[in-house]
């Protein structure tokens, strides 16, 4: 009825949104990371999956992750409009209306879950559905605006993709896939808080309770250091569980050790540098860290599958 009234009153809005605007709603940068980590989970898992079904599964996971991004942009359009980092997104800039983003997100969520269920299995599909629900409802609607621990709990949503990839092959949830989950889960807080430390004012303006704004910079740095310290053994754990080889053991130790050292630097300097160089460097390195850790697992899995070559810690000790 509202639409009819709009037309009669001359306020009818004819969309000028392009397919690229809708694609932007899917958060392509986040989607890239999701595709990558889900692929690693899929290849590191014991067992085989038909290559076509593997590609379709990854596609479904990517679309599901994108759909949760669209739902996030629908709900967050008010605060996106006051932060420099997000002001150009399709909804706050007016290229896509909130209701269009909502419908787009809901339809893609349903299609991606159903597709994954039919193409792979229903355990993987159930996990994908839970991930979308977790990100869109638990994180975006509930926790993001109500607790400074938003990133910690919200980070779980970003940590699910390798578990989904693993479940696509095995149809189960195992300790190995839980370790992959834990790596991303523990990595998220120091990664985001490094960003939050120098974008504090932005989050403050938007009324989003990020940890530095609520408990202060010192306590934020303390917590970052704790997470980085726990991340070290968890990152190396795949080598001890047998699904990461010796190469992974060496690379992951160096990477997680560097991550801890850089976080310690951020903690030790304690904001004495007004340019926050250490925080910015840690943020940049954290992105490289996650990519490199999963890339090493990926390379080992591909080499093992292609040539049957594998050297694990169990072969040495």
């Amino acid at each position: 009825m509202a639409m009819v009234e709009d037309i009669v009153s001359g306020d009818a809005r004819v969309s000028e949104a392009t397919p690229a605007d809708y694609f932007e709603l899917l958060k392509p940068k986040v989607m890239r990371l999701v595709v990558f980590t889900a692929l690693v989970g899929m290849l590191a898992a014991p067992g085989a999956i038909n290559p076509f079904l593997a590609v379709f599964s990854i596609l479904a996971i990517a679309v599901g992750a994108g759909a949760s991004g669209a739902l996030n942009m629908w709900y967050d359009s008010d605060i996106d409009g006051v932060m420099t980092r997000t002001i150009k997104r399709p909804v706050p800039s007016g290229r896509v209306t909130p209701s269009e983003a909502l419908i787009f997100g809901v339809i893609l969520s349903a299609l991606s879950v159903l597709t994954l269920g039919l193409v792979a299995n229903w355990v993987a599909a159930g996990l994908l559905a839970f991930t979308i629900f977790f990100y869109a409802v638990i994180y975006t609607v509930w926790l993001k605006r109500s607790t400074p621990q938003n990133i910690v709990i919200g980070g779980a949503a970003g940590a699910f993709p390798p578990m989904i990839g693993w479940a696509c092959v095995t149809g189960t949830l195992t300790i190995e896939s839980a370790v992959l989950f834990a790596i991303i889960f523990l990595w998220t807080p120091p990664h985001f808080w490094a960003l939050a430390l120098w974008k504090m004012r932005d989050y403050d303006n938007a009324g989003v309770p990020m940890l530095p704004n609520v408990v202060g910079e010192k306590k934020t740095r303390d917590q970052m250091l704790i997470y980085a310290a726990i991340l070290l053994p968890v990152t190396v754990a795949p080598a001890f569980l047998g699904f990461g080889g010796v190469a992974y053991a060496i690379v992951s130790t160096i990477l997680a050790g560097t991550f801890l050292a850089l976080t310690y630097k951020v903690w030790a300097i304690a904001g004495a540098d007004p340019n926050l160089k250490a925080e910015k460097y840690l943020f940049g390195f954290s992105i490289f860290f996650l990519f490199a850790v999963f890339a090493t697992l990926l390379i080992e899995a591909v080499v093992f599958r292609s040539f049957g070559l594998s050297l694990t810690l169990g072969d040495i000790f």
Partner: protein, 63 residues
């Protein structure tokens, strides 16, 4: 922009889309068509792969 329907016999005012609106609508239509085609393709191939060789075993022909 507005479309107003008057009483029978009177002139109907139509929505005149701008060049940009027409262009973006066409692009959206093409994108939807391509996505639907890809979706059909995914399910066609997935069905063939899931059935495997059994897809060729039609009792009516083989017996």
């Amino acid at each position: 922009m507005a479309e107003v329907r008057h009483k029978k016999g009177e002139k109907i005012e139509r929505v005149n889309l701008s060049e940009k609106q027409l262009k973006s609508r066409k692009a959206r239509n093409i994108a939807i068509a391509l996505c639907l085609a890809a979706f059909v393709g995914v399910f066609y191939v997935a069905t063939v792969v899931k059935f495997g060789p059994a897809i060729m075993q039609n009792r009516g022909f083989n017996q």
